[in-house]
């Protein structure tokens, strides 16, 4: 039933008609062959992260030496993280927080409107909200850059390379996640809860605040988290909209990759990995991973 269940004997391909215990799943191989095969995916996906964390702990003070497995553990490189990385990290963080918060402000009413009204051409309207996920990010980046240039030519205000410019781009790709996850929760929403509150004398605003909002909150958290993570890790949009000396963390790393590969870079990357891990654990505590995924986010 579980991973810890012992293998049901050495099974040859399909030659075993009756497994001793009723397994949760059916596979034409012995289950250990199957598990080892599946673990390949995990090794593939997670080994780079383990290596980055490991190499950042390498004890040694030579800039050019990157070693995995590390020889001796030290946190020396964590004290050597350059100021540019801290600046980029705080920009990325501020940007991601604001972009996901604004995405919620735009996305929640949109989801409410989409699920609860009977407007004509609903499919078309909802596809407008989903569109940013269909457009490759690099195209969004190019398109926003050209939009900013044209806007600048017309008004004299150039927003490319500013916080506002980056924010708008990140907001654009963040909205679909919130609309998707909140919409998914709303579709399962039992509207009798609201009717009960209203008939017991609660005002519309109180009903929304005390009933609707708490129920859709898992969707908001999930969508907000997706929007945050997409913004926090984005390269293809930010690379067009940031300016030299004013870049997000991933873009800073991207440009530094060729000429600036040293253990200090790995140290700041390790901090980001741990931060993302912590955020995910926090979300798991608040809403549960199952909710995080059921509401669909990236898949929607």
């Amino acid at each position: 039933m579980t991973i810890s269940t012992p293998a049901t004997g050495v099974a040859v391909n399909g030659a075993e008609p009756q497994p001793r215990r009723r397994p949760g799943f059916r596979i034409p191989f012995s289950r250990w062959t199957f598990f080892s095969y599946c673990s390949l995916s995990y090794i593939f996906l997670l080994s780079p992260l383990v290596i980055v964390i490991g190499a950042s702990l390498h004890r040694g003070t030579r800039y050019t030496v990157v070693k995995f497995p590390p020889e001796g553990i030290s946190f020396y490189w964590f004290t050597q993280i350059p100021q540019a990385h801290w600046d980029a990290l705080s920009l990325s963080f501020g940007l991601a927080v604001l972009a996901s918060a604004l995405a919620c402000c735009v996305g929640i009413p949109a989801a409410l409107g989409l699920v609860r009204s009977n407007i004509p051409l609903k499919g078309l309207v909802s596809s407008v909200f989903r569109a940013p996920l269909q457009i490759p990010s690099i195209v969004t980046g190019v398109a926003f850059l050209q939009m900013y240039y044209l806007f600048g030519d017309l008004t004299g205000v150039y927003v490319n390379g500013t916080f506002a410019g980056l924010l708008l781009g990140h907001l654009f790709v963040g909205i679909p996640f919130v609309v998707g996850t909140v919409g998914a929760v709303l579709q399962r929403f039992d509207t009798r809860l609201e009717e009960a509150a209203l008939s017991l004398g609660a005002s519309r605003i109180t009903t929304f605040r005390r009933i609707t909002l708490p129920v859709i909150m898992p969707g908001v958290y999930a969508g907000g988290l997706y929007a945050f993570m997409v913004s926090f890790g984005d390269v293809p949009i930010s690379i067009f909209l940031s300016a030299p000396g004013f870049t997000t963390f991933p873009v800073e790393l991207f440009y530094g990759m060729e000429n600036d590969f040293n253990p200090a870079v790995l140290a700041s990357s390790t901090l980001v990995i741990l931060f993302s891990l912590g955020l995910l654990l926090l979300m798991q505590r608040i809403v549960g991973l199952e909710n995080l995924l059921r509401s669909g986010g990236g898949a929607g």
């Binding site: 199957f34 995916s41 780079p48 735009v106 409107g113 609860r116 926003f144 990759m257 898949a299």
Partner: protein, 284 residues
Amino acid sequence: MKARWDLFLIPSFILSFVLMMVSQIIFLRASFFKDLGLGRAGKDVVLTNYERFFTDDFYLQVLWLTVQVSFMAMLFTLVLGFPVAYMIARIRSRWAMVLLAGIVVSTFITIVIKVFGIYIMFSANGIINQSLVGLGILDKPFTVIGNNAGVVVGLMHFTLGFGVLVLYSVVQTIPRSLEEAAQIHGSSRFRVWLRVIVPLSLPGVTVASLMIFNMSMGAFTSAALLGGGRVFTLPVLIQRVVIMEVKYSMGGTLAAVLLFSVLLINLLSIYLVTRMRKQRLVIT
């Protein structure tokens, strides 16, 4: 009084609609101006850029290479991802959540950091090369950075986690009871796969594959970093043309080609889904 939920929709819709339409129309319009280089463009609407794209071997090869590596990435993502998705969907214990968390963690961390790990892994004195050379399997260190294999590996880091999550929801739509029924009636486990799991998941898997293919076509970061400046896929070329060569119109043309190939695949996917629904191949 009935709540007017449709009014809630209006401001959000206007914002999304305006951002999307204005940005897309501007770059699409610009793609029809002749590119004069250095950020300058002609004033007349002409097809020069598109003509160049579809007659110049270099651009066509870039497009073809993008399709090739995306296809490979899609194939490997399916082969590696489907069993994992099946395993997670069918395990009935809290391990399922742990396994899912592993996938989610990997998709949430920016690809740039993962590429660092891949760099270290494949460096000349990294673990892979040292062990392979040490065991005598290779006589000189090999690398995935700067060749097509590397780009495929990079694309898979982008698509595999996402692919598992999508395939997981596909497997979840197949009722467990069907597999049990087949087995009770005497099917071997191999036949259960052949006659139940594969046919029932095929429509979902087809759609998932197209999504994965689309993601790979548009993937910039991993392709750029693992291509090492030597392998050009369409997104990598777009960034280069716009930022280094400052050719906005040509960049717009390349972006337009990418956008329309991706949209075309999306339409194909929608068409396939509706056809499969009609033939009642999808259980929903």
